[in-house]
């Protein structure tokens, strides 16, 4: 029953090893944060496992639930590809390799940060990661307003509220989500 509905939108069947490789790679290489942007790139842009709107809908839900939204969206992607086993594989692959690395990293930390070079390298990488996150934001914004115009207003409102005014994320997401559902229900996508 579950596997049937999970297989509905994506006829393709993804081998478990591909899910593990993808999430392990993201977990180990996502320097500078913006991990959900990495997962979007891999799952939507590169492989087309999920459609843009489905991924972003799940990401919004993951934001208002407890827990890291990166982990919540990984659980969703894993589930849609391979059911419960897929969820467990995605989360374990995303978390375990960087956990091992971070502890090893912390063991040598004091020798490490004395070097200004390391600090500047990480700072520059984090700057580029910001650029990558922004590019995913702009890309999804462009996709959202291709069919209809109202999402532009919603995107701008959420950006200003959380990014500029620094209002708390969860109440903003809940209010904007309710408005989005209302508007979406009253408009036709392909009108």
């Amino acid at each position: 029953m579950h596997t049937q509905s999970a297989a509905k939108k994506n006829a393709q069947w993804v081998p478990l090893v591909q899910i593990i490789m993808l999430f392990a790679r993201v977990g180990l290489t996502s320097f500078g944060g913006g991990v959900s942007a990495w997962i979007y790139r891999e799952v939507v842009t590169e492989r087309g496992w999920l459609k843009d709107e489905e991924f972003l809908g799940a990401l919004t839900l993951g934001q208002v639930l407890p827990g890291s939204n990166v982990i919540n969206v990984s659980i969703y992607v894993g589930y849609r590809m391979r059911g419960m086993v897929g969820s467990v594989a995605a989360v374990a692959a995303l978390l375990v390799p960087p956990m091992v690395v971070i502890v090893l990293f912390a063991s040598v930390f004091h020798r490490f940060t004395q070097y200004d070079v390391v600090h500047r390298l990480l700072e520059g990488m984090a700057a580029a990661a910001i650029g990558m996150t922004a590019s995913v934001g702009l890309r999804t914004a462009k996709a959202a307003i291709a069919k209809q115009r109202w999402p532009l207003l919603m995107i701008s409102a959420v950006f200003v509220a959380v990014g500029v005014l620094r209002w708390p994320l969860v109440p903003v997401a809940i209010v904007a989500g309710a408005m989005g559902l209302l508007i979406s229900a009253r408009t036709r996508a392909d009108a």
Binding site: K9, R41, L61, Q63, Y79, F109, L121, M125, T133, A141
Partner: protein
């Protein structure tokens, strides 16, 4: 409070798991309070160092918890603290994923996705903007972020690691020159 260190880790991190609404950042202050003032697992300076490592290393920022568990009780402590933080919220997210996908044939499911997608886009843009504002905002950091943005828009499928390391090296070089 239980005497066993592992039980203490579970008692601290499992409730925080379900309180971390809106992401791992919302509980950093609580973790700080519990680890430093209440349990004395690490000093404030150690906490700041561990937080900095969890930011610098790849992977989700929530790995701060792994590091505190490791400081308290070695590799097993790292495992216990991580499981306590990640499992409760993940079970909830799993139930939500099952419930959300169960009805995905219904027309309202597509309507709901279309209604919720712009929120995620707004939050992605907001997060990149607030991280940039919080970073040491020198012109080189803003410049690197903008150049990377241009590269990723022009070449969406390019390997991000190349751009990231390139930006890191430019920042190192800039540190030598200025």
């Amino acid at each position: 409070m239980p005497d066993n260190l592992y039980l203490q880790l579970v008692a601290v991190f499992a409730p925080l798991s379900l309180l971390s609404i809106g992401g791992g950042q919302s509980i950093v202050a609580d973790i700080n309070q519990q680890a430093v003032a209440i349990h004395g697992w690490v000093s404030q300076q150690e906490f700041v160092d561990l937080f900095a490592i969890s930011r610098a290393a790849p992977g989700p920022g929530a790995l701060l918890t792994t590091l505190i568990g490791w400081k308290v009780a070695g590799w097993l402590g790292a495992l216990v603290a991580s499981v306590a933080l990640f499992v409760p919220s993940s079970l909830l997210a799993y139930v939500a994923a099952v419930a959300w996908s169960r009805h995905n044939r219904h027309p309202w499911h597509a309507v709901a996705e279309r209604g919720l997608a712009p929120i995620a886009t707004g939050l992605i843009l907001a997060s990149s903007f607030s991280v940039l504002r919080a970073a040491s905002s020198t012109w080189i950091i803003w410049g690197l972020a903008l150049v990377a943005l241009g590269v990723f828009i022009a070449r969406p499928k390019m390997n991000p690691l190349i751009v990231l390391f390139g930006a890191g090296l430019v920042n190192v070089a800039a540190g030598r020159i200025f």
